[in-house]
């Protein structure tokens, strides 16, 4: 990992901007839910901000990503329009999916966000297909499959990794290992410590990195992306992280290891990166604060517009079932 490319100052700031948007957006969603203004199952990405931020700085709009119910961080990092996001969460007709998909099925093809699934493991086989399409197009695009540590034990993981390696698909399998799958820890889900060790079973490179460290995450992602663009095939990246708000907002969380949780909180990547930017003179305290203020303003605008927008008409039940509206 020492030989990984490192992000320069501008990139590091870019990573922070994305991560801050994810964090502040998450905090606002939770506030709105507590206030009863948003009603939905919410899988908070708080704590995992660095992972998608550090990979997205090396992705283009037309690179594909597939993600899961816990995927708003992946979306925002890749440039998901904030207004359409909030409108979708609020179930409005102006939402990216016209309110029909909701938080678990966010989609935005113009930014390469093709599929968001609520079925564990299912982002991977589909990401392969997008990788196959990219390969046929011959435009050196890549396809990123986001999934969790728990998803590494389901059959679709195995079939997808094997096929991607066999077909040398430009796919990055990004396992965001936050140590829990719902209420289940590794002790109840697998024997092998490192999920990245499974890559060898498919003849694919696999690495485990600290997903909360922008340098490591950026470096591992860049190497995998370049490998994919060069037609050398897929890579499995296991990005170690932690989710501070548990699996589903509102859960009791009794299953979590208190000490582990405390340790993770001390290592919260957001204040650490913020402090680093200032310490290294990449941005002044004021500049960072300004960035955060601007994000708050964007969120304000997005949610205000969302709540003012109309709900979809009931006739929408007959649209998009098939391309042609059903009678």
């Amino acid at each position: 990992m020492s030989n990984y490319p490192k992000p320069d100052a501008a990139t590091l700031l870019e990573i922070y901007k994305k991560a801050a948007l994810i964090k502040q957006n998450d905090e606002r969603i939770i506030k709105q839910m507590m206030a009863g203004k948003l009603v939905m199952p919410y899988y908070s990405p708080r704590g995992q901000e660095i992972i998608p931020s550090a990979i997205s700085v090396s992705l283009q709009d037309d690179d594909y990503i597939c993600t899961i119910y816990r995927g708003i961080h992946d979306m925002l990092a890749k440039g998901f329009p904030l207004g359409e996001l909030w409108a979708e969460l609020a179930g409005r007709a102006t939402g990216t999916c016209k309110g029909k998909g909701g938080p678990m099925h966010l989609t935005c093809p113009s930014k390469g966000m093709m599929v968001t699934t609520g079925i564990v493991g299912s982002s991977m086989p589909i990401a392969n297909g997008l990788g196959w399409a990219a390969k046929l197009d011959g435009k050196n695009r890549v396809s990123v499959a986001n999934f969790g540590d728990g998803a590494a034990n389901i059959g679709a993981f195995h079939e997808s990794m094997n096929m991607a390696a066999l077909w040398k698909l430009p796919v990055i399998f990004l396992c965001q290992n936050n140590l829990y799958a719902e209420h289940t820890s590794m002790a109840y889900s697998r024997v092998v410590e490192k999920i990245s060790d499974r890559a060898a079973a498919y003849g694919m490179p696999g690495v485990t990195v600290n997903g909360n460290d922008p340098d490591e995450m950026y470096g591992a992602a860049k190497v995998a992306i370049e490998r994919a663009r060069a037609g050398e095939g897929p890579t499995l990246i296991e990005a170690m992280t932690f989710r501070f708000n548990g699996h589903l907002l509102g859960e009791a969380g009794h299953y979590m290891d208190k000490a582990l949780y405390a340790k993770a909180q001390e290592a919260d990547p957001m204040p650490i990166l913020r402090a680093r930017l200032i310490a290294e003179g990449i941005a002044s305290e004021d500049a960072v604060t300004a960035i955060e203020k601007e994000i708050e303003a964007r969120i304000d605008a997005a949610l205000t517009a969302a709540y003012e927008a109309p709900f979809p008409d009931v006739s929408e039940l007959k649209r998009d079932v098939f391309a042609e509206e059903i009678a």
């Binding site: 179930g91 029909k100 389901i154 289940t184 709900f311």
Partner: protein, 330 residues
Amino acid sequence: MTDTTTITKMTMIEAINAALHDAMEADPKVLVLGEEVADPQEGGVMGGTKGLSTRFGEDRVKSTPISEQAIIGAAIGAAVGGYKPVAEIMLMNFIAVPMDMIVNHAAKLRFMSGGQTGVPIVIRTMTGSGFSTGGQHADYLEAWFAHTAGIKVVAPSNPGDAYGLLRAAIDDPDPVLFIENLPSYWTPGPVTKEVVPIGKAKVAREGTDVTVIGHSLMVTHALGVAEKLAAEGISVEVVDLRTISPWDRETVLASVRKTGRAVVVHEAVKQFGIGAEIASVITENLWGTLKRPVERVGAAFSAVPFSKPLETAFAPQPDTIEAAIRAALA
């Protein structure tokens, strides 16, 4: 009902938890497995299996990795090996993942082995729209399994039946798909702890003008509508199927023979849903007696939408059922 029976009030989820406790207590061969089912994982995402692993140990109550094919496979193997596993598939949509294990194996091994083996498993799963969970978390898929020979399908509408049907399902020598309605989990009701036989429907409310046939949450809706229409002097009989396959033709036909009018309702998509089979059997058997064609009520032909107004319009609501009853009476 024996006079020793004591009636207590429980919610649906409490009744399910009690049935699992009592079944494991009564028979050491009863096992429980699934994601999050043991107490270190909080005894199920809804607490349905709370306390079981603490009481019966983690050899009999196993939390599993997210591996639905392996979960059902382990249940099938243990059943063929002499045990009675109760496997949990967290949500009904996820049942598509271990579909091969269920339909090609659990449902067929007895027949294909000429009766040498059997698969006494129960697959508990929950579903139901209304919680804004969107397109992959709320489908009713009972029709797939009702169409599959070798597996039984039950869906309780109240805590008492949930307890009684789950006890029956666990002791049944064949695989049983046990469908739980998420929005009904916290609805309280009387629980006598009597076993409810699989394959027997219940006349949940007697009436003379029209018969409404349904299962799960739709029975609750139908009973509410029946109460409302009674005020108008319309007498609605409500038949709670309880078991979808093999379903109780006798009870359903007897009711419709009496009323001459029928409405079949389910939360699943209407097209090619179980209502079509029930309506067809009623029509075939009561041709001449039936005063109007059987009315069918089901969900819209779409995925479950997220946005509240769409989600509400998607699934049958009391007013949809009321409209169908009025149409049946026209």
